[in-house]
Amino acid sequence: MKVGLFVPCYIDQFYPSVAIATLQLLEKFGCEVVFPLGQTCCGQPMANSGFANLATGCDNNFVKNFVGVDFIVSPSGSCVLHVKEHLKHPDKEKAQFIREHIYELTEFLIDVLQVETLPATFPHKVGLHVSCHGQRGLNLSSMSELVAPEFSKPEKLLSMVAGLELTKPKRVDECCGFGGTFCVFEEAVSVKMGKDRIIEHEANEIEYITGADTSCLMHLEGILKRKGSMVQTIHIAEILNSDLVPFKAERS
């Protein structure tokens, strides 16, 4: 199975450890992983600001880089959702194939690789942040608004990790306030939302906040660091891969 690893721009630049963990995890489960070197970004920042029509170059580049793989996997629900919903290309078939075969990491592990056990160990108390685009967009977990059975792909994976104690904030799936360019154009609300999420997590006396979307974690990390909190953020891929790479060794 040939998997194209899609590493969104800010992960490539600021959170290489997340991409490394994703790559290693996929390889561990027997995937042949390629990292197309010409990739840039999914175009979401433009589209969410109202300039989806400027994303053509971005889209073309995306298709050029990712044709020929069986699946595309990325450790960012929000970027995956954007590609799924908005990728356009003159070659309609290619675009459609990509839209149908792009996966966020946790859904790929559960739905495609059907992972049932993991050799990971992470002896820490961890709070789960549910990212909206992954949850409400990609259906990674049930939603508190709907009358429907409960499930969660990220939680299922975390439950396989030895030593990990998982907690949830009081409002289980409220948005953290990142919201792409919202985080600067509506700075006050964005930060307030993030602060409120953190207060609920801190009430559970956790050491880490984890989630499947690096962008939300980056926003929460920014607030945590500013207030000098002891709580750290960590992407779910890093936890699931935690026996292979000593924790955060790659970060500094």
């Binding site: 290489p16 920042p45 409400r136 709907l146 700075e187 939302m193």
Partner: protein, 473 residues
């Protein structure tokens, strides 16, 4: 005209501040913001408890959505059917293309009946049309009879929420307002005491009133009747006491059949407040003996919205406000930050239709988290429409030009992998070498958040390093 009236008109017409700035001012009082957030979250929580008692909830939403889709696709016919039946029932029907026509029709009826004071129960449509300031200017006193609306009316403020108009106020504020206007005891903040004072005050208004205005929740085409839902009973007190009853409705309030009320009444109150149904669901078909009953059917941009395929289903809205209560942005920015009669997520997709330029900020006042779409009892794809409005607003030139230039630059870089890599490297290098360039007041990220640490190596560099040998051709 009194100073108070003049003030009122000023408030209603003063230039609006964009959402982000108004929200920042709101959050300036953090304690109050927390209270506002918690209070509305509690309403969302009550809604969750109520809907989880119905295993068929999701099917009910689907049914409501389909009924509304069907109705909109046949709207002209249903409006005519409704009109015909209403006329047969002895109700007079008026048509208003816009807010001005709506206000003129009402003023005309008021004048014809020779009254100078009217009681009005909650109607977001009359807020949208700015009926109160219009009538005030004409020397007609309007008494809003919903408790929340009376409170904000005393304070010369618009409602901040379509179901809970005074939710931005604390009991101390209400107490002070009532002390000034109703002579209640200073400092008595007991909601029971304050409500009782309003009850006595408004009872007199009802008894004396000659003309009552109400809104309409649902208008039934097959019977020509309409349904008004309240918890306080104020719509009925007004309508039954007065010699003239005027009900105002947007064209989208039509539903085809009486049996459809079963679907909508099961959804409305549960979504709005978590109650199984509102205390009163009043079905009006004919005026009582000796009474005049009028219906004003208003377009005011609704047929234009009907013509926009991406946005037409916003007309399915039954004004339950569930999307307000669940919205993390609304809860932390307050209804007034939306500077429109209907605030919140639904307001953000309705108002650009009314005035794109004035309301271009609203579709951006969202993280697109999608919670609104999930709670909506008629399944309006609210967050998708917010996204689509952004595209339309950018296209039509209603987005800040500097934003556009930035986006163009970004698009160019992202379409060119070499440039992108260069920019990335430079960026990280700059952040490490001269953090002051990024970590300053101009950087809105940095104002209240630290920047992520810039690693020496990007993932790409690490990958190339690791695969040095294998990648070599």
């Amino acid at each position: 005209m009194s100073d108070l009236d003049q003030n009122h008109i000023n408030t209603m017409t003063k230039k609006a501040v964009a959402h982000a700035a108004a929200a920042e001012a709101f959050i300036g009082d953090e304690e109050r913001t927390d209270w506002h957030d918690e209070t509305l979250w509690f309403v969302r929580h009550k809604r969750d408890l109520a809907v989880n008692q119905l295993p068929e909830w999701e099917q009910l939403r689907e049914q409501a959505s389909r009924i509304k889709d069907h109705t909109l696709s046949n709207l002209d016919k249903y409006l005519m059917e409704f009109e015909k039946n209403a006329l047969t029932n002895g109700v007079q029907v008026h048509w208003a293309v816009d807010a001005q026509a709506h206000n003129d029709i009402i003023l005309d009826l008021i004048k014809k009946n020779g009254v100078d004071r009217v009681v009005k129960s909650k109607s977001m449509l009359t807020e949208e049309c700015h009926l109160n300031p219009f009538l005030l200017k004409q020397g007609v006193e309007v008494v809003d009879t919903d408790l929340g609306e009376r409170i904000v009316q005393f304070r010369d403020e618009p409602p901040s929420h379509i179901v809970l108009p005074a939710i931005h106020l604390k009991k101390q504020d209400v107490s002070e307002t009532f002390h000034q206007h109703l002579g209640t005891e200073k400092g008595n903040n007991d909601p029971q005491y304050l409500t009782e004072a309003a009850r006595q005050h408004l009872r007199n208004k009802f008894v004396e009133s000659q003309l009552a205005i109400t809104g309409v929740n649902f208008a039934v085409a097959e019977t020509g009747g309409f349904v008004v839902c309240t918890n306080e009973g104020n719509a009925d007190m007004g309508a039954h006491a007065a010699a003239v009853h005027i009900a105002c409705m947007g064209i989208e309030k039509i539903i085809p059949k009486a049996e459809h009320l079963g679907v909508f009444l099961r959804l409305l109150a549960r979504s709005a407040t978590g109650q199984p149904v509102t205390t009163y669901s009043s079905h009006f078909h004919r005026p009582r003996a000796g009474q005049q009953m009028h219906i004003v059917i208003v377009d005011n941009g609704r047929t234009r919205q009907l013509g926009r395929p991406d946005f037409r289903n916003s007309l399915k809205c039954i004004r339950c406000a569930a999307c307000f209560n669940t919205c993390p942005v609304y809860r932390r920015s307050g209804g007034h930050s939306y500077h429109t009669a209907v605030a919140g997520p639904i307001g953000a997709i309705l108002n650009p239709n009314l005035d794109m330029k004035a309301n271009a900020d609203l579709p951006f006042a969202s993280t697109l988290c999608g919670s609104c779409t999930n709670v909506c009892p008629v399944k309006i794809d609210i967050h998708q429409q917010l996204w689509k409005w952004r595209q339309v607003l950018a296209e039509e030139g209603f987005v800040d030009p500097s934003k556009k230039i930035g986006m163009k630059g970004m698009a160019f870089v992202l379409a060119h992998p070499d440039l992108y890599r260069f920019a990335g490297k430079m960026g990280r290098w700059v952040m490490r070498a001269v953090p002051g360039l990024v970590n300053n007041k101009l950087n809105l990220w940095f104002k209240q958040r630290d920047m992520p640490a810039a690693p020496k190596q990007s993932f790409r560099d690490w990958y190339l390093d690791k695969n040095k040998h294998s990648l070599k051709k």
